[in-house]
């Protein structure tokens, strides 16, 4: 029973991180119809920036903020310089381009930061909570993870629902031509969308890294899990991405706890194929039909 509770709690925590990562993919998909396969290495690079700042003796929170800002800038630069030329072209071009960026960032991080495993500190305790005489595998950092992701989601909802800027971003994503005719600077909105998505991705990277080891490949599997979570939720729906992330985190945690941690990626593949073949519009998409 205790193992089950711990597995579920661990699954929900990691599910929150997948949800954040899936949210980043969904933000980009909604605005530019591109799946950013380079999201994971982008987050990895910003995490390494944070690690450099921490190892230089500065505070964790300064590094945290710096990584988020770096993510924002990186996302904007990538959209403006690399993605803009392939927007609206054959979709295979964008796929290959983001994979190229994936390889570049990976190699660049290995050259600049080295290839070895380095430990990344956590902001809060990484010991489980004690309830009575049993220890629950919910650490202080886990609680922080959940709260941080919830806060970011809340801020995004506020941005998109209640601000003028958010309305313009939604208009640009919904219909570029009409938005342009109404005076929305669509190009800027797309850049901003990528920047925000990259920021959310960076947050996910920092949360996964906290209290464990980082190396240039530590996020590679997460891009798959984030993609599966996003597809689970319909790839178009932010709320779906969150639910998809939680569901995926839970299922993968159960597979890891009761079958074997080596098969986690295989389970993700099975879930992905099941969703794409049985319910291609995702579990929560409003759209009737989706061409996958």
């Amino acid at each position: 029973m205790q193992q089950f509770v711990n597995t579920v709690l661990g699954g929900l925590t990691i599910g929150m991180v997948y949800a954040a990562f899936a949210l980043a993919l969904v933000l980009i998909w909604r605005s530019t119809r591109i799946v950013n396969f380079a999201q994971a290495p982008m987050a990895m690079v910003t995490t390494f920036i944070a690690l450099q700042i921490i190892e230089a003796g500065h505070s964790y929170w300064l590094a945290f903020a710096a990584a988020l800002v770096a993510g924002l800038v990186l996302g904007a630069v990538v959209e403006r310089v690399l993605i803009r030329p392939v927007e609206g072209k054959a979709e295979i071009n964008a796929v290959i381009l983001t994979l190229g960026l994936f390889i570049v960032l990976h190699a660049l991080a290995s050259v600049v930061f080295g290839n070895r495993y380095r430990s990344f500190p956590a902001a809060f305790g990484i010991r489980g909570l004690e309830v009575g005489d049993t220890t629950i595998a919910l650490t202080g950092f886990d609680i922080f993870t959940i709260l941080a992701v919830l806060a970011v989601m809340g801020l995004l909802v506020l941005l998109f629902r209640f601000t003028d800027l958010g309305l313009r971003m939604r208009a640009a994503a919904f219909n570029q031509e009409v938005a342009r005719l109404l005076g929305v600077r669509v190009g800027r909105m797309l850049t901003l969308g990528w920047a925000l998505a990259s920021l959310v991705g960076s947050l996910a990277g920092l949360l996964i890294a906290g209290g464990s080891l980082v190396h240039p490949g530590y996020m590679d599997a997460v891009v798959v899990y984030g993609f599966v979570a996003a597809v689970l939720g319909g790839l178009d729906s932010p709320a779906g991405a969150v639910v998809g992330g939680l569901l995926l985190g839970l299922s993968l945690s159960l597979v890891s706890g009761y079958v074997g941690s080596q098969l986690v990626a295989l389970a993700a593949l099975a879930i992905l194929m099941a969703v794409l073949l049985l319910r291609p519009q995702g579990l929560f998409s409003q759209a009737r039909e989706r061409r996958v």
Binding site: R33, I34, V35, F37, L82, P85, V86, E87, G88, K89, A90, E91, I92, N93, A94, V95, I96, L97, L99, G100, L101, F102, I103, V104, L105, H106, A107, S110, V111, G114, N115, E177, L181, V186, G187, D220, A221, V223, V224, F227, V228, V231, G260, Q262, L263, V264, A265, L266, A268, L269, L272, M273, L276, L277, A287, R288, E289, R290, R291, V292
Partner: protein, 380 residues
């Protein structure tokens, strides 16, 4: 048939290729022949991938995983000192097993497109090494399975001595096997892509509706392309297992799949020559770049990452600057998509050109145009 057309016939090219291969493999030392074997297996897998992506428009990031299937099958069959099958039999079994796995994946993949297919095959590439770890007792876990390469049979040694005038070393034996496999695989791929099957693949790639109207089954065309491509990857896995003498999960990581993609994009999607060129670059570039990095003051591990850095940069540059690949740069007729520039239907070409023309003015307000609708066939 003119002399020129006869000369570009695949069979003639293959015969010339065999002569060149024998000459080169005779001239080089053992170290180079190991490198050339690497070029052969990368070339076989890239050839399969370029047919899938270039001719049929399906992207696969899972070809490294398919190579792993071929390699592990080979390793399982070559565990004992006295193998139960001759090497040719092992090659056939490895290819068929991978083909069957590829068919299963292809059936699922045929219903996906673009980013969905990329994501699904990416998941495949990440998931497959885990299988080898989970079934560690049979598949050797992290250490992998050792491959016992049987000695060359007596008649092969005699024939090799007769032709080349020197004794056949084990690594040269594997190199000859690898290049022999490559010639056969490329002949098959060229034959398929020039014939009716290849025309169907291209038709499905260019316009699904038109292809369906013409009576082509989209699903069958896509699955057959995937199956052929997977078979090539299986054969490549066979050669790789023989050459490396090991089948271990670390050899078939995501990196391998992405490397193969680099090779085919680099050489120009859909071109077998391009795939071979890409494989050559992937084989010989790393050493040059790593040496340059070491002499520039980097340590070995960091210098080894310079080669992937260049692959990635080239991949990005090719998509941004020359979407038809490097082999088409000399005669740029690019249509703005990462595919072979040749279009057989002139109307199709003009529609594509119109689409691109609209794309150029993408940032301006633009109402519905004929190209616009063509270009933007995105999910609701």
């Amino acid at each position: 048939m003119t002399v020129r057309r006869i000369l570009v016939q695949p069979v003639v090219l293959a015969a010339l290729g065999v002569v060149v291969i024998v000459l080169v493999l005779t001239a080089v030392d053992d170290f180079r022949s190991v490198q050339l074997t690497q070029m052969a297996y990368l070339g076989i897998a890239a050839g399969g991938l370029t047919v899938l992506t270039g001719l049929n428009g399906q992207i696969s990031l899972g070809h490294g995983a398919l190579m792993a299937v071929g390699a592990y099958t080979t390793a399982l069959l070559l565990q004992d000192d006295e193998p139960m099958l001759p090497l040719l039999g092992v090659l056939v079994v490895a290819t068929v097993v991978t083909l069957v796995v590829g068919a299963a994946i292809g059936v699922a993949a045929a219903r996906l497109h673009g980013p969905y297919l990329a994501g699904a095959t990416l998941a495949l590439a990440v998931a497959v090494p885990g299988i080898a770890l989970y079934f560690g007792d049979t598949l050797g876990g992290e250490q992998g399975l050792r491959v016992r390469v049987p000695d060359a049979p007596g008649w092969v040694l005699d024939a090799a001595y007769f032709v080349t005038g020197q004794d056949l070393t084990p690594s040269k034996y594997v190199a000859f096997l690898g290049w022999g496999t490559l010639v056969v695989a490329y002949l098959g791929l060229a034959h398929l892509s020039r014939g009716r099957v290849g025309r169907r693949w291209r038709a499905v790639r260019d316009d699904e509706v038109a292809a369906e109207v013409a009576g082509i089954s989209l699903g069958r065309a896509r699955v057959s392309a995937f199956v052929v491509s997977a078979a090539a990857a299986g054969a490549a896995g066979f050669v790789m297992a023989l050459s490396v003498r090991l089948a271990a999960p670390s050899g078939y990581s995501l990196t391998l799949s992405l490397t193969l993609l680099t090779a085919v994009v680099l050489g120009g999607l859909g071109s077998l020559t391009g795939a071979l060129l890409g494989a050559a670059l992937l084989t010989f570039l790393p050493q040059v770049v790593t040496d340059a990095g070491v002499s520039a003051g980097l340590d070995d591990i960091r210098a080894a990452e310079l080669a992937p850095l260049i692959y990635g940069l080239v991949l990005v540059a090719v998509i941004l600057l020359a979407p038809a690949g490097l082999s088409a740069v000399s005669a740029p007729r690019g249509t703005g998509r990462a595919g072979p520039p040749r279009r057989e239907n002139p109307h199709e070409h003009s529609a594509q050109a119109a689409a691109q023309e609209v794309g150029r003015h993408d940032r301006r307000p633009h109402l519905v145009g004929p190209g616009r609708r063509l270009r933007r066939r995105r999910p609701q």
